[in-house]
Amino acid sequence: MNTGDAAWVLVSSAMVLFMTPGLAFFYGGMDRSRNVLNMLMMNFWCLLIIPILWVVVGYSIAGGNFDAAFFGGFGAAFLKGIGLEGEGAKQLLTIAFLGMFAVITPALISGAVAGRMKFTAWAIFAPVWMLLVFAPVFKWVYGGWLGVRGSLDFAGGTAIHVNAGIAALVAVLILGKRRGWPQEGSPPHSMPLVMIGTGILWFGWFGFNAGSALGANGQAVQAFMNTFLAAAAGGLAWVLVERVRDGHPTNLGAASGIVAGLVAVTPACGYVSSMSSIWIGLAAGVVCSYAVRIKFKGGFDDALDVVGVHFVGGLVGSLMIGLFADSSHFGAEHLDGLFYGGGFKLLLEQAIANGVTIIYSAIVTALILLAIKATVGLRVSDDEELTGLDSVEHGETAYHFGEVTMGRG
């Protein structure tokens, strides 16, 4: 194994791991103060259960038999036969790197269901969803039938953001609204926490995107540059829209635009040049700043805008590959976008890959949630929702003001 490649992917893996706490703060700051610990724990739960499930069977389904079109099989379950000799260490490193993606993908959904989901229901949903939805779709997109047809998804626009985003929409439709929504507002309880989370996410995203080159090479450098530019462009676009439309450029607008730009450039970053990534970021910032309002028209309580930012942003980025993909820039062989002489072929393949993902993810997510609803139940009671999930579900309080002393029960 090339030591430069190994070093970069090792560092990238740790950076992607850091994104899940970053996401937890990003979401946690936007949540109410009585539910912030529940939000953090929904994300940290993914860090507890998914790594183990990933090596037991998740990786095998998602990538075990690389030539399989639909299902990776159980051949690599329990990492059977993967040692350190030959290409073994490289494979083990890839499994670790991809495991970080398996952790954060279900964690993305947590922002939609904030404030009313039973923790037990989430604790079952997140790992089951990873196995039944994330792992198979990952297989189809990377080396499976959707990838072989010609669709492109460098670091997980279709397989991660569109996939988790549509699952979030289905989840809030089955779970129902929070009490009082939308008449009663619940603005972010801590904007500084949101901004810290955004910073951690942007930092980690360099590992997510540039690490997906799986080596220290030119494609990684271009993906790194694109991650830098699209995030800035997304934040810039969102803030400019706000200044004109609402009067104030807000911190939450900057943070949301940065994340929207990052989401959109994720599938594209290894296939497009620097200037294209700016257009992708700008488009994501503008489109998502309007998409977060759809929930009020549609009447679905997507609490922290997972649909408006991740689903819509992922779709924008994935479809824009169909415009901007430039194989000659990378000296690679894949379909080119409309603007680079490839015609409509790639755009069509991108639409097919996302369409298939949306249909599959929506159906299986619904089945998982309906099964949980029929057994342990999905929602906390109205009283518990009003009391707050931190105290009810975790027996903790996020903020103790003044000098609080407690007797030793």
């Binding site: 507002g185 603005p187 706000e242 609402d246 807000t250 009020f296 805008d305």
Partner: protein, 112 residues
């Protein structure tokens, strides 16, 4: 003995404290409070959605004075807290039945 209570703009607290000290008041209790009056609230915008904030942050100042010192204390607060803009707050005076200094057990006017 009277309890003089004032609800004022938070950034005026320092001026009010100095004015009360100059007026000879020896102790002040301060609480951060929220409320609304004729000033109303304000709006905040998050992801393009407007939220109405009805309860504005104010500071409540409480001082206990001898009957003879009430006018001086009230005048100190009113003159130092006034900006002549809406939302300056109010001052009110209530009679106290009894007062006890915890350290010594002194009661009534001696405990002021």
């Amino acid at each position: 003995m009277k309890l003089v209570t004032a609800v004022i703009k938070p950034f005026k607290l320092d001026d009010v404290k100095e004015a009360l000290k100059s007026a000879g008041v020896v102790g002040v209790t301060v609480t951060e409070v929220r409320g609304f009056g004729r000033q109303g609230g304000h709006t905040e915008t998050y992801r393009g959605t407007e939220y109405q904030v009805d309860f504005l942050p104010k500071v409540k100042v409480e001082v206990i004075v001898d009957d003879a010192d009430v006018d001086g204390a009230v005048e100190a607060i009113v003159s130092s807290a006034r900006t002549e803009k809406i939302g300056d707050g109010k001052v009110w005076v209530t009679t106290i039945d009894d007062l006890i200094r915890i350290r010594t057990g002194e009661r009534g006017a001696e405990a002021v």
